[in-house]
């Protein structure tokens, strides 16, 4: 009876572990900046990523009539981090501008280092930027 119980527990543990390994969290950190009011909102949806990367600084300016955003990300870990980030732009009505043209770019962040990522609006109508950072594992 004892042996049978142990086998059942082992099987349940194996099934549980398989389930956990199969789950990849695709939620990440989102930094929304309104270039008209200057307000910035940081949403950290992934507890794992929150413990690895911090948003240090957000700056914005305008170049050739297009809005530009600079966001400094800092690693809180000692090992190298491989991340993906994407900066998308929205017009004054909150509509995303050309969502298909804004891609996820790879960011390799060394231990305890900080990197500034930059995004330029592809249209003069872009007034709000949204940076989304995700774990590289979240890519298909």
């Amino acid at each position: 009876m004892k042996k049978r119980n142990r086998m059942l527990w082992t099987a349940a543990l194996a099934v549980g572990l398989t389930g956990l390994v199969g789950c990849v969290e695709t939620a990440g950190t989102v930094v929304t900046t309104d270039h008209q009011t200057g307000s910035t909102l940081v949403l950290e949806d992934s507890t794992r990523l929150k413990g690895q990367v911090q948003v240090q600084k957000v700056n914005y300016d305008e170049v050739n009539g297009l809005k530009r955003v600079h966001i400094t990300l800092a690693s809180t870990r000692h090992r190298r981090l491989r991340l993906h980030y994407r900066i998308s732009w929205f017009d004054a009505n909150g509509m995303e501008i050309d969502p298909d043209t804004k891609t996820y770019r790879t960011l390799i962040l060394e231990g305890r280092d900080s990197v500034t990522v930059t995004g330029v609006a592809n249209s003069a109508a872009g007034v709000t930027s949204k940076l989304r950072v995700r774990d590289l594992e979240a890519a298909d």
Binding site: V63, T101, K102, T103, V120, N122
Partner: protein
């Protein structure tokens, strides 16, 4: 005896499940920015390059100086492929032109479709189907003031099971009147793939 039959049936069923009876491949749609699956140039690399080049060109101070308050006429030449891979360079330049066009900073002409323009004008002038007052005649098209050109190059190294592949997209914007390079930028991509110890 019964136990043996059950065991054999179980083994046969397990073998069928492992090998799989289905012959149709599993197909699903994936995100455009998927994780790399080879060390070759992949669609997501091209997309990132086009985005980076468009952002760089639109925000370059030299371009603002050259453009001033006008919207200069631009032509995009297909990039030269100096790699051993087949890459559709026309598609790359088409994507870049689309992004620049949407910015509203430039006007575009397309030398590649000039032959079709002549066919249309010829048909309008000679077939007798078009009202000649409305027919478009040659000699009225805008002239390209600047053109965008570039190249893709690669360096490949192999050490044991590791393949190291480096790609470089380089692009320049040239003012046709002055011959000056108004803008230039590069996008570098480096990928590594490690072959498994076993397998073919």
């Amino acid at each position: 005896m019964n136990g043996n039959v059950f065991a054999m049936t179980g083994v046969a069923m397990a073998a069928m499940m492992i090998t799989g009876c289905a012959t149709a491949p599993t197909v699903r749609e994936v995100a455009l920015d998927r994780a790399p699956i080879t060390s070759k140039l992949e669609p997501q690399d091209v997309r990132r390059t086009v985005e980076k080049m468009a952002e760089s060109l639109l925000s370059a101070p030299g371009v603002r100086e050259a453009v001033g308050g006008t919207r200069p006429v631009l032509d995009v030449e297909p990039l030269k492929n100096r790699t051993t891979q087949h890459v559709d360079m026309v598609s790359v330049t088409d994507s870049l032109r689309m992004q620049l066009l949407r910015s509203g900073m430039f006007r575009f002409v397309d030398k590649a479709t000039s032959g079709t323009d002549i066919e249309f004008m010829d048909a309008q002038a000679n077939l007798g189907l078009t009202d000649q007052k409305k027919a478009i005649r040659p000699g009225q098209q805008s002239a390209a003031q600047m053109y965008l050109t570039g190249a893709l190059s690669e360096i490949k190294n192999q050490a044991g099971r590791t393949v190291d592949q480096y790609y470089k997209f380089s692009m320049t914007l040239k003012d046709l009147r002055t011959g000056e390079l108004v803008w230039a930028d590069e996008q570098e991509i480096r990928k590594e793939s490690v072959k498994p110890r076993m397998g073919f």
